[in-house]
């Protein structure tokens, strides 16, 4: 196990490093001067322009610039934002919490709901409710994330104003409000983005789990267990669900990039102060250092996530457990 884990970790690290180099090389080799985005059409004193180019290193030849950026990155220096003049590392650090909160809760809820509903549908495949669940998730799957989000805003924030339509916290909340009031406010702001993400992503684990559980439910050992009177709940979790778990764990790794894409659009729609919305606004402002920093952090997070998923996969499947 240790040897395998080491090899797998080195592989993930190598992929992340190569991806980082690729992204940075891409940005520097592409045509287009990012400074133009800041300066715009304004006439600018050539001396000032040279000073700006010096500050951001946009006047270096591409290969040089790639090397300088990478060496700064190695020291943890992500540069200064074009738009806010603040260190990119600080801007990103502020955004990690909300993204992990939204993404983590989405992952948890999506898999909890997807797995239990999928298992339930597999055990009661002919009921009307199972068919309704199947149709509802297909609709959720077909709808683009931001359309789901806007429909929810329309229904739950505009037509009947139950929930806030965006943001992370109510700026008008009195600073000496009690812990319970603050928690309620945070939960209210979390509700719509979280609901959007779950609705958009739940179909995949649900359908996979149903297919896998349908497969195991037809196995002779399930019939044997039923025949010797194993209670329904134990039958469901122990005999049907446990062997059907393996393909689902693989799914977590494949599913993470989808979470990133969802995060970008959902965070932007709900002005959720996370990495995804930082990436989106950074791109609108052509704030290249911010986009690279936030983008690479998301890449690294996906790599770490799929590494964890791989470890889980080996723990869950006895046949795959490396000795």
């Amino acid at each position: 196990m240790t040897g395998w884990l080491l090899r797998r970790s080195v592989d993930a690290l190598l992929t992340t490093v190569l991806a980082t180099v690729a992204v940075i090389a891409l940005v520097h080799l592409l045509p287009g001067d990012p400074l133009t985005a800041i300066v715009g059409d304004r006439a600018i004193d050539p001396v000032q322009r040279a000073a700006l180019e010096q500050t951001w290193g946009t006047n270096r030849p591409p290969l040089d610039a790639i090397g300088v950026t990478l060496s700064h990155l190695l020291r943890g220096d992500l540069g200064i934002s074009f738009a806010t003049q603040r260190p990119v590392a600080t801007m990103i650090a502020e955004r990690i919490g909300p993204t992990l909160l939204l993404g983590g809760l989405t992952l948890l809820l999506t898999f909890a709901i997807g797995l239990s509903l999928g298992l339930w549908s597999a055990l009661h495949p002919t009921t009307l409710r199972a068919r309704l669940i199947g149709t509802a998730t297909l609709i959720g799957y077909a709808l683009p994330t931001f359309v789901i989000g806007m429909l929810l805003v329309w229904g739950l924030a505009v037509r009947s104003p139950l929930l806030p339509s965006g943001g992370f916290a109510d700026p008008l909340l009195s600073p000496d409000a009690g812990g319970a009031a603050v928690l309620l406010d945070r939960l209210q702001h979390l509700a719509l983005p979280l609901l959007t993400m779950v609705l958009a992503t739940v179909a995949v684990p649900l359908r996979q789990q149903r297919a896998a559980a349908l497969g195991t439910a037809a196995q002779p050992w399930v019939l044997a267990a039923r025949a010797r009177g194993v209670p329904q709940a134990r039958l469901a979790w122990h005999h049907v669900w446990r062997p059907a778990l393996t393909p689902i764990v693989t799914l977590v790794g494949l599913w993470l990039p989808m979470l990133v894409a969802g995060a970008v659009f959902v965070e932007a729609l709900f002005s959720w102060p996370g990495l995804g919305s930082l990436l989106a606004t950074g791109t609108t402002q052509r704030d290249v250092p911010v986009v690279i920093g936030a983008g690479l952090l998301l890449v690294a997070m996906v790599q770490v996530g799929s590494l964890i998923a791989d470890v889980l996969y080996h723990l869950v499947d006895p046949a795959q457990r490396p000795r």
Binding site: V23, L151, W154, A268, A280, V288, V291, G295, V299
Partner: protein, 267 residues
């Protein structure tokens, strides 16, 4: 069969909207009654109502369909071209080169497409529509390359490939004339699903204000503008939202039908 019929029907409707819609609809940027016709509900004069600048929503939807389809088709073609070249090369190259290309594909797969797209758009700035479609396509190659590589590895020791080699066919000829035809069915299926992805990405980027830019009509851009009028003009949300869902459903249904008929063994 059912999904093939439904997909083809939807495709016909979509093509009708994209090709003929702009002919019968008015200029999408015309503002017929700016004084009092803004945010008008659907009527005989304006089938899908008007938006906040009094522009006809149906006209914008039809012109947006044209842009959306065009971008998706160009993007998928570019992605398929790159995927085929890289995937075939990785499948038939010598051991050293094949290892490098395998790593290249792995790195490509490790980068979430949205992240790469945003990095590219931040570096390149505003792009004209055809270039935007190409950039969208350039980011779509890794999954297709992996698929083609897998097929190439499966086929490269097949008797007919060995025969072609023995007859002195060059590696390029072997790759394109012997292996590629065998890899086409799953590639076509993946391209159909890829069209849905490309349409969704285009709409999403336009929704962020990064894809097709106003005043050019696009479904994502219409959704972005609808955001401020959800309470007063829900048709601004529903028209492009439903169009987008039907368009992606079309591609998904056709992909499903293709998979059933072309790759029956891989279900």
């Amino acid at each position: 069969m059912k999904s093939a019929a439904a997909g083809l029907g939807l495709l016909a409707a979509l093509l009708l909207l994209a090709l003929l819609g702009p002919l019968v609809a008015m200029d999408p940027n015309l503002q017929p009654a700016l004084g009092d016709g803004t945010l008008a509900a659907p009527s005989i004069a304006h089938w899908l109502g008007t938006d906040q600048w009094s522009r006809d929503v149906f006209a914008r939807l039809a012109h947006g369909a044209r842009a959306s389809l065009l971008v998706a088709v160009v993007a998928v073609s570019v992605a398929a071209l790159l995927g085929v070249i890289i995937g075939l090369a990785a499948g038939v190259a010598g051991p050293w080169m094949a290892g490098v290309l395998r790593r290249v594909i792995d790195v490509g797969l490790a980068l979430p497409r949205v992240v790469v797209l945003l990095v590219l758009l931040a570096a390149l700035g505003t792009l004209p529509l055809p270039l935007f479609a190409v950039v969208l396509g350039v980011t779509g190659w890794p999954s297709l390359a992996r698929l083609v590589r897998g097929e190439a590895l499966r086929l490269r020791h097949a008797p007919f490939v060995a025969a072609a080699r023995a007859l002195g066919a060059s590696p390029v000829r072997v790759a394109f004339r012997e292996i590629l035809p065998g890899a086409l069915p799953p590639l076509l299926v993946a391209a159909a699903f890829g069209t849905a992805d490309a349409m969704l990405l285009e709409a999403g980027l336009s929704f962020l204000g990064l894809g097709i830019r106003p005043p050019s009509p696009s479904w994502g851009g219409m959704l972005l503008e609808a955001r401020d009028y959800l309470g007063t003009a829900p048709w601004l949300l529903l028209a492009p939202g439903i169009a987008l869902v039907l368009a992606t459903a079309t591609a998904t249904l056709l992909g499903d039908a293709l998979r059933r008929s072309l790759t029956p063994d891989q279900r």
